[in-house]
């Protein structure tokens, strides 16, 4: 379980996260929604310890990271136990898609990497393009490879930053299907998304972040019957726009 307690973060004088408490369970999909500038990506980066919070605690399966950290404390981040896929996928352009997936696993000396890769090729239907270079693959294909690269190392948690943002409807449906498969493998999935339909269908937990604070948390039903006025307004705006 990833637990965030009272997370605060400022950039310059601007408060980005203002006392966030959050729990991410294994085997569940948590969707984080919220308006632009509400601190979604900063929260994801804080949970992955890519960006240290100014104060608060991040706990990953009992391993606590306290902030502000003492000067002499060495942080040993929980990667790739907690893995991240970014909005821009950052596949390494000089390697084929196959090599992109294999490199981290091989360097970590994991056993049976080729068998594991075969499983992922089947799961993500990548057979036809796995030996291409990233620039020869479509956005949807790159997305699958980025997910496979993260999953190759058997993470317990997968944090995804708006990975559906550049996809068409059909590709979003496919990603949804894959993520449900990932969840069924017992992996905790945390997704930032602006697609309410995606959150309704995929999420076990929906978190609404506004101005650096969590305004509402619950099952996907909070998107149908939101309690907080800000979430009501947000849902209305998004639905009107789509």
């Amino acid at each position: 379980m990833i637990i965030a307690k009272d997370i605060h973060k400022k950039f310059d004088q601007r408060t980005i996260l203002n006392g966030v408490d959050l729990t991410i369970d294994t085997g569940k999909i948590t969707c984080l929604i919220g308006p632009s500038g509400s601190g979604k990506t900063t929260l994801l980066r804080a949970l992955a310890l890519l960006e240290y919070p100014d104060s608060g605690i991040v706990s990953v399966d009992g391993q606590e990271y306290n902030f502000p950290k003492a000067a002499e404390t060495e942080i040993n981040p929980p990667w790739p136990h907690v893995s991240v896929v970014f909005q821009s996928l950052f596949l390494w352009p000089h390697l084929t898609l196959r090599q992109n997936i294999l490199l981290p696993a091989k360097r970590r000396g994991l056993p049976d990497v080729h068998a594991r890769l075969e499983e992922l090729i089947r799961f993500f239907e990548m057979r036809d393009f796995i030996d291409n270079y990233p620039n020869e693959a479509s956005r949807g294909q790159q997305q699958r490879v980025a997910l496979a690269r993260a999953l190759m190392l058997k993470p317990k948690y997968l944090l995804l930053d708006e990975i559906t943002s550049a996809l068409d409807v059909e590709q979003v449906a496919k990603v949804l299907e894959y993520l449900q498969g990932v969840r069924d493998q017992g992996i905790g999935v945390f997704v930032i998304t602006h697609l309410l339909g995606f959150a309704r269908r995929a999420a076990d937990q929906v978190v609404f972040l506004n101005e650096g604070k969590i305004e509402e948390v619950g099952g996907p039903e909070i998107l149908t019957t939101p309690k907080s006025p800000r979430l009501q307004q947000f849902v209305k705006l998004i639905e009107a726009a789509s």
Binding site: A48, F90, A150
Partner: protein, 220 residues
């Protein structure tokens, strides 16, 4: 007398000049790549070295190489009251130009390197050594190589300036032959053929590498 006749009749002189040109070029390329590469790497981290590298690149970009060569050759000899072999002055001057040109290429490539490719390596559990060797260096190498090759072709052309301070390189040999037989078109065409043979493949390689490697950064 045709170009071929000139090449046949004066091949000894041309070969001697060519040897001097290649010696000069070797010094410029080796010092440029080693010292310029190192300076670029350190300048990417150190602000003082960055100012030096940037400042010198601006300065050398504004001052014609020929003027810089004359500055270092004649006034230096007058000030120190010594006679300096013009080969050394030419080697030093052109090496300085090359060192700062390469340093800026390397510095800009390192500073402009997209950090997210490295973060993607960290979150997949790669060690720093693996990130540098397997991701950063190959990507930087691909990005730098075309520009580096083109810079080195320009430096080869710049060796011609050495003739103006009496270095007996290939252009000076061509000038001497021309003084004897006065066939400027044929003689300088012969010289042009030499440069074409050496430079064209390098330019084509640089173009090919640029086409091949720059597309790599795109994400759809």
């Amino acid at each position: 007398m045709s170009v071929i006749d000139i090449l046949i009749n004066y091949h000894t002189g041309f070969l001697e000049g060519l040897l001097v040109t290649l010696e000069l070029y070797a010094v410029i390329v080796v010092s440029g790549i080693l010292l310029g590469g190192l300076l670029g790497v350190f300048a990417a981290e150190d602000p003082i070295l960055r100012y030096i590298s940037q400042g010198m690149a601006f300065f050398l970009g504004a001052v014609p190489t020929l003027v810089f060569l004359f500055w270092l050759h004649y006034p230096a000899q007058a000030v120190f009251e010594i006679v300096i072999d013009p080969f050394y002055t030419a080697a030093l001057t052109l090496s300085i130009v090359n060192i700062f040109a390469i340093s800026e290429l390397v510095r800009q490539a390192i500073q402009g390197f997209p950090q997210q490719f490295l973060i993607a390596g960290r979150v997949t559990g790669l060690r720093t050594k693996d990130i540098v060797l397997k991701i950063q260096l190959p990507m930087l190498f691909r990005q730098l190589l075309p520009a580096l090759l083109i810079t080195q072709v320009t430096m080869l052309h710049s060796t011609l300036f050495a003739s103006l301070i009496s270095v007996e390189e290939i252009f000076r040999v061509a000038q001497r032959i021309n003084a004897q037989i006065y066939k400027p078109v044929e003689i300088y065409t012969a010289l042009g053929v030499f440069f074409l043979i050496v430079c064209l493949p390098i330019n084509l390689l640089a173009y090919h590498l640029k086409q091949r490697f720059t597309r790599d950064f795109s994400e759809r």
